[in-house]
Subunit: 471 residues, 2 copies
């Protein structure tokens, strides 16, 4: 039986661990699908390429407001698909080839599970095809998967998830999306801007319900004007045949669709690994339990990314991978030497329309913690650049501690939100107070970040002269 | 003869000084033109409204790259002009009405100049129509004006400046722009995107020659592909008649134009005030000399903004106005009590195509200071969002101190540059080092600020674990 120093299950962020310090180690890499993981193949990267094309199309549809009359002659869906995956697929393939050609690395295909840890402490692993091997250390970086509600799974609907919807052969005339979270919101934007009619079916009363209420409600309001949004509905069944797809809802109504996208959440893959055989604790939701150092409950086994993180976000997985890269080379018990992942100020962005980005506490979270807070919603339309864009919907909501002006949360919806939020992430991460931040630096006039400056001034006021604190 | 506690010459940033602390003072406000100053009436605000319409048009023209075939049916120039000035003109008028209705404020029209300061220290002022009054304190906020080269001034060319070009009745078929700086670059972008043919005539060999060389050269290269750019040329004469305008160049050639924009720089208005009569020193270039506290060389007279600043930028003028607002209420000689304007990290943005933003030292400046530096040019196309935009020209250049990683300068050219640069302004203003900045905060994947993260990592490397310094 082969033995390895290190086994990595999953080639998303897990594949970034091996640096020059690992060249002398025997490493097994297990990948049941395509090299590169969710982000590269079916997540962040391809979606944003579609989103940008959608933004171009949306800009054209809205151009008359600015005195520019234009029309879309056609959207070449197949060309978009080819352009996106013509760039991505070779990268995934190149990544796999590189690993297969590394003298110290063995790549195992198919699904890999744990077996019982051996008495000498070596971890046992079994591939789908029956190959067994042992490893001193293991990194679980097995990601997450789309959840399919049982009624849909049991139906005869030919549904898509985010794994497949970007490769469909034709732009659907009518796309039905089940769900109202960030994946639903991004694809609704992509397909509607490119020309599909979009219907969303969601259980709750708002889209983006994980966002701050002001953002979720405003987004839902805008979404309802652009798309058909059916609230408080679940899918009970349906079928796909030669004439298309029929989706049955719990109120007895039906929807005809040319394609159906299920976007009802993602579940960590920790339940698919027989991890208990190695002593790795996994929650009922499939999440591998880790501590601050990314150590699982089994000695020598680390986990990172979507399979174990409270945040299914690539920038978090990347940080956790750097932590694991360091910690694999340390003594398991030497807490002083181990790195810890900082999960205090984790930002998110949703590349829908309008774009959303946020970091820190929502207003509800802050109030539930009984914090004494001040809150400001600043419209993009209040600053010169928002004016230039004729913006009527963009908003920057900032929450600060009433006494110190410390920034507790920031929630942006609008143009460039994922870029605009960076100074706020930076301020929170480095403990910069709101007033100091507003007046201790220049804000270019008339650039869009003035909306942040104005929100902070509204919350924290002008500093007392002679001058704000500078470093 | 009327006497005032305070006289303010100019209603741009000068008009922001009066807060509730000034309600008991008798104030004179002198404005020879339109209330609101350059920024509101002929500068930042209207230009950006035109620029955004131009960006919409440029996006349409470039959409086929993204699989979206579109065409522009027409550009309604008059509608754009109406939309822009239909919003701005009422604001200027409202600002004037407000001042005229304030019981403690007297507004003087026409050009105002100084007379000889009276023996009792009261400053004497004379309006164009011959009215004289005195004032204890004076704020010179008289702005700057477009410079017209003598050969053009002496010619029969019906030229425009940025004061008038935005209100011309028709989009010119062929616009000739004299100059290659930021005003030339912004209007070249606006008019060419909206459909004009644009020719630039400049003395030097590069456009945007005040920028870092890498940015200036790359911009010039891109500009030369889009616009006709004539380098090393000056205008020697010309005329406008019923058939249009002919511009004569120093190589004996001529250009036919439907409109001519002179954008060869702006000169502070300090030479138009007879300021020497009050003891105010003015440089040969017309700039009123001030110290860090915005005090001129004449007791009781302050100056701010384009008339006195090394930076003709609204965000600098706004800061200087806040300084003056404080200092007017202090003892002139009490340096401890006086506020000072911080001019260390002044950013600029140019809303041309691609957008440009910068802060701090250029590479040449850093090398001339014999600093030991490291420099990185990071392409937007290297990060996921740049990829999504199919970006091939965006670049982020960062200059750090080789030993400490302190950020000395940042120069961006590309999409969202004026927003992207804010975290770098913030880092410089608060003394955050490059490595700390790169790894002490999250950068949302796949948002555009990753280009900054990558540039900083290339310069400063990964920090040593367990963890980067946090506050």
């Amino acid at each position: 039986m082969d033995h390895f120093d290190l086994t990595i299950i999953g080639t998303g962020s897990g594949n970034t661990i091996l640096d020059e310090r690992y060249e002398s180690k025997r490493v097994a890499i297990c990948e049941q699908g395509t090299f590169g993981g969710t982000c590269l193949n079916v997540g962040c990267i391809p979606t944003k390429m579609f989103v940008y094309a959608a933004e171009v199309a949306a800009t054209i549809r809205d151009s008359a407001r600015f005195g520019v009359d234009a029309r879309i002659d056609g959207v070449r869906w197949r060309d978009i698909v080819s352009r996106v995956f013509g760039r991505i697929d070779p990268i995934a393939l190149g990544g796999e080839r590189y690993r297969r050609s590394s003298p110290n690395v063995t790549v195992f295909d198919g699904h890999t599970r744990f077996g019982p840890t051996r008495p000498d402490g070596r971890h046992l692993l079994r591939t789908e095809s029956g190959v067994e091997f042992t490893s001193d250390q293991v990194v679980i970086a097995a990601g997450a998967r789309a959840v399919i509600p049982p009624a849909i799974a049991a139906s005869d609907i030919a549904w898509h998830t985010s794994d497949s919807i970007m490769r469909i052969p034709e732009l659907p005339e009518h796309l039905v999306i089940i769900g109202g979270g960030f994946i639903a919101a991004e694809f609704a934007h992509v397909f509607s801007a490119l020309g599909s009619r979009v219907t969303l079916v969601l259980r709750g009363a708002t889209m983006m319900s994980h966002c701050d209420d002001d953002i979720g409600e405003r987004f839902t309001d805008l979404a309802s004007r652009k798309w058909e949004v059916l609230f408080g509905r679940t899918v009970t069944g349906g079928r796909t045949d030669d004439t298309g797809t029929t989706v049955e809802l719990d109120d007895g109504s039906t929807l005809s669709a040319d394609a159906v996208l299920v976007a009802t959440g993602r579940r960590p893959n920790g339940d698919l690994l027989d991890a208990h055989l190695a002593g790795v604790e996994v929650t009922e939701s499939g999440q591998v339990v880790v501590d601050d150092h990314q150590r699982t409950t089994a000695r020598g086994i680390f986990a990172l990314g979507d399979v174990s993180s409270d945040y299914q976000l690539k920038h978090v997985a990347n940080l956790e991978a750097r932590v694991v890269r360091h910690n694999l080379l340390q003594d398991w018990d030497d807490v002083e030497a181990l790195a810890a992942a900082d999960h205090r100020y984790v930002p998110s962005a949703v590349f829908t329309d309008p774009q959303i980005a946020y970091v820190g506490l929502t207003e509800n979270e802050a109030r539930a913690m009984d914090l004494d807070i001040k809150v400001k919603l600043q419209d993009f339309g209040d600053v010169a650049y928002g004016w230039a864009m004729e913006d009527t919907t963009g908003v920057c909501k900032i929450i600060v501690a009433a006494d110190t002006g410390q920034i507790l949360g920031a929630h942006l919806m609008g143009h460039q939100a994922s870029t605009l939020i960076q100074p706020l992430i930076q301020a929170m991460s480095f403990g910069l107070g709101g007033q100091e931040m507003a007046r201790g630096q220049y804000w270019i006039h008339p650039a869009l970040p003035e909306v942040i400056e104005n929100a902070l001034l509204a919350l924290c006021g002008e500093p007392t002269w002679p001058s704000p604190k500078r470093h």
